[in-house]
């Protein structure tokens, strides 16, 4: 059995070595007309892919076995402990308090550098949460999401240039403009489903970016817009570090607001309609839900949060250009939602922080980070498709003990 496994991995690694031979071993430079042979890489691939294949096969086998119910004593015990911890009120409250304290104290304990990284990460938390409404709840794959983010930042930058619009007023206006764009995009999307829908949203995202890039008289073209004012409190003089702290708290408040809206939405009539549409469009329609209306809502609501986050982005970086809003950014936000677990709020927050913070702290491996990022996406989807923290569906728990007083519980 073990011998079979080792042999199988050997074949796999030999195959991969042959396959990657031209790209890994030979490097042809047609500028200087040189050919470099790097035989060291051959050994690297051979050993690396052997180990990788062993682990991969083992994990696949384990996953298949894991589908049977776990009867391990230890795992049952852990489950029980988890259940008691998550159900006891004091535990919940103290956990929440600890998180709140950490969130509040963070800007006072860390450096400016840490904080500016955190600010960017928080913007992606908000983007992730916004897209979570469209994809996680509504099941609509939006590959042009970053365009709404762009709409938000450009509406602040342009309105500020034109009429000197204040940051605080721009926040809702950015959201509103994004909402309008969201509705415009939603109209042709309504008739489409699945992959067609995804590719149309992708097309819209790209069109908006290219138009911004080429409409130089309005948007400054590829060189973008400079010296956008940072957020300020009237009458208070803020230095750079204070402003970063301010942005941090703005983002925390906005993220909390997004979470609140999502939570309330999930339990509302619209939210339930969204989830029904995600599960089965035809069944949903036959239950009397107006699919058209629900789709527009899913799209537009997601867009609003991106627009608001965009305003903060423009104010935080003080410089925007179309290069910050490429398709890859949309893909990144999509990955945040899927990695975290579609529909799961803690999952999305966690994934946004991991995906945005990890590359910053792994600067030493910056060359390899995109390589690792790609591999992580594949591995996650194969072994943990529900995301890091899968969504927990609301359900009712009945035991003999409390059957008398029907108690609703969020498990």
């Amino acid at each position: 059995m073990i011998k079979d496994r080792l042999l199988k991995s050997l074949y796999v690694s030999l195959w991969l070595t042959v396959l990657t031979f031209p790209v890994m071993v030979i490097r042809v430079n047609t500028i200087e007309d040189t050919v470099t042979w790097r035989w060291g890489n051959l050994l690297l691939i051979l050993i690396g892919s052997y180990v990788f294949s062993l682990i991969w096969n083992y994990a696949l086998e384990r996953q298949e076995r894991g589908k049977k119910v776990k009867t391990n004593k230890l795992s049952i015990k852990i489950k029980e402990i988890k259940a008691t911890v998550s159900q006891s009120r004091p535990m919940k409250i103290s956990g929440l308090a600890a998180v709140l304290a950490a969130v509040f104290l963070f800007p006072f304990l860390t450096s400016f550098y840490q904080m500016s990284i955190m600010n960017t990460a928080l913007m992606y938390v908000m983007l992730g949460l916004g897209l979570n409404i469209t994809i996680g709840l509504g099941g609509i794959l939006n590959l042009g999401y970053i365009a709404f983010f762009m709409v938000g930042s450009y509406s602040y930058a342009l309105l500020n240039q034109a009429i000197g619009l204040n940051f605080w007023i721009a926040l809702p206006i950015g959201g509103l403009v994004a909402l309008i764009f969201g509705i415009i995009v939603a109209v042709p999307v309504l008739r489409l489903r699945g992959d067609y829908l995804a590719i149309v949203t992708l097309a819209f995202g790209e069109i908006m970016r290219i138009v911004v890039e080429n409409w130089s008289s309005l948007t400054g073209g590829p060189s973008g817009i400079r010296s956008i004012p940072r957020p300020a409190i009237p009458g208070v003089d803020l230095n750079l570090i204070d402003t970063a702290k301010l942005v941090y708290f703005i983002m925390i408040v906005l993220a909390a607001f997004t979470i609140l809206i999502t939570l309330r939405l999930k339990d509302s009539r619209i939210g339930r309609a969204l989830i029904a549409m995600r599960e089965d469009e035809i069944a949903c329609q036959s239950m009397g839900i107006n699919i058209t209306k629900v789709k527009v809502i899913a799209f537009a609501l997601g867009a609003v949060f991106a627009g608001v986050a965009g305003v903060v982005f423009a104010a935080n970086t003080t410089f925007i250009n179309p290069a910050s809003f490429t398709l890859w950014e949309s893909v990144l936000v999509l990955c945040i939602v899927v990695l975290g677990g579609m529909g799961s709020i803690p999952g999305v927050i966690f994934a946004a922080l991991v995906l945005k913070l990890m590359p910053e702290y792994l600067r030493a491996f910056s060359e390899y980070r995109m390589l690792v990022f790609g591999a992580v996406l594949v591995i996650m989807m194969v072994f943990k498709p529900g995301g890091l923290i899968p969504e927990k569906r609301k359900h009712y728990n009945f035991t003999n003990k409390d059957a008398a007083d029907f108690e609703e519980e969020d498990v």
Binding site: I26, I31, R193, E206, N214, I282, E367, V378
Partner: protein, 302 residues
């Protein structure tokens, strides 16, 4: 802006269309059989171009005739790209065959990012001049400005590939198995079709055609880069959707529609908005004909 200009744009559109067609076929075949957008397909095309570049680089010391170098480079590039297509299906798609569509899509995007950066790290981030492997035909000398040799070769090769592929799918046993699998995978399995093999063959054929496209296009543009696969990949996918994804004649038709739109749009309106024309026509066609030009107008399943 006379007839010559129009003819030049026409040839340009035809070339572009053939390029997209060579890549779009891979997309549409894979989609037809497993219902998955193979995002990494553009990367396979890029790897094909790189492999041919490497092979040509090694062979250049042997002083072989140009034609022999081209042939060897193309064949090796096709074999290796087919290998990549085969392997990436086994790693990134096969375990996800029964998973939700979105998971498979994310996995494909991950594979695409991985392959791009793999070539970036193992080779170079620079634009490399592509070896001039296709000699100029003497008889095209007078009209060199409108029709270049590489363009003519791309057109001819695309036509030959189309015909061979149609014959393969219509008349061979594996073609029959492919059609059966795309109609109903479970039923095909019940009638004794080895579905795994059919899927592998699809990936192998699609990838090797993409590699052929890669070599021809890089010879035409004269340079290559690790990022070339991405945008062309997206455009080819747009072409496949335009024509009605899953249908091979549709992919070819969609590619030509896209090629002409881009060429004439850039030539007569503005070259800055070249990419916008492609996307606008996509939105228009999908809004009025959601299943594409040649798509089956059956209701899509969610």
């Amino acid at each position: 802006m006379g007839f010559d200009y129009f003819f030049k744009l026409f040839i340009g559109g035809l070339t572009k269309g053939s390029i997209y067609a060579l890549i779009a076929i891979g997309y549409t075949m894979v989609y037809g059989i497993i219902g998955l957008i193979n995002f990494a397909h553009g990367e396979v095309y890029m790897i094909g171009a790189f492999t041919a570049l490497i092979v040509a680089g090694i062979l250049s010391v042997l002083n072989l005739p140009m034609f022999a170098v081209l042939m060897i480079a193309v064949v090796i590039a096709m074999i290796f790209s087919a290998g990549y297509g085969f392997t990436l299906e086994k790693i990134a798609y096969k375990p996800l065959r029964n998973a939700p569509r979105l998971s498979a899509l994310i996995s494909a995007i991950g594979m695409s990012i991985f392959l791009q950066n793999y070539v970036l790290l193992a080779q170079t981030s620079n634009f490399l001049p592509y070896p001039d492997m296709i000699p100029d035909f003497a008889f095209l000398e007078p009209i060199k400005q409108t029709l270049r040799t590489t363009q003519l070769i791309i057109l001819v090769v695309t036509a030959i590939v189309m015909i061979l592929l149609t014959l393969l799918i219509k008349f061979t046993k594996i073609g029959k198995a492919m059609r059966a699998t795309s109609q109903d995978r479970v039923m095909a399995m019940l009638t004794g079709v080895n579905v795994n093999r059919v899927i592998s063959v699809t990936f192998v054929i699609g990838s090797s055609i993409a590699a052929l496209g890669g070599v021809l296009i890089c010879s035409h543009t004269g340079r290559t880069h690790f990022y070339i696969g991405f945008l062309v990949g997206i455009k080819a996918f747009v072409a496949a959707v335009l024509g009605g994804i899953g249908s091979i004649p549709g992919a070819v038709l969609g590619s030509f529609v896209l090629g002409f739109t881009e060429s004439f749009g850039a030539g007569y309106i503005s070259s800055d908005y070249e990419d916008v024309f492609a996307f606008v026509i996509l939105i228009l066609i999908l809004t009025f004909r959601p299943d594409g030009i040649l798509g089956k107008s059956t209701k899509q399943k969610a």
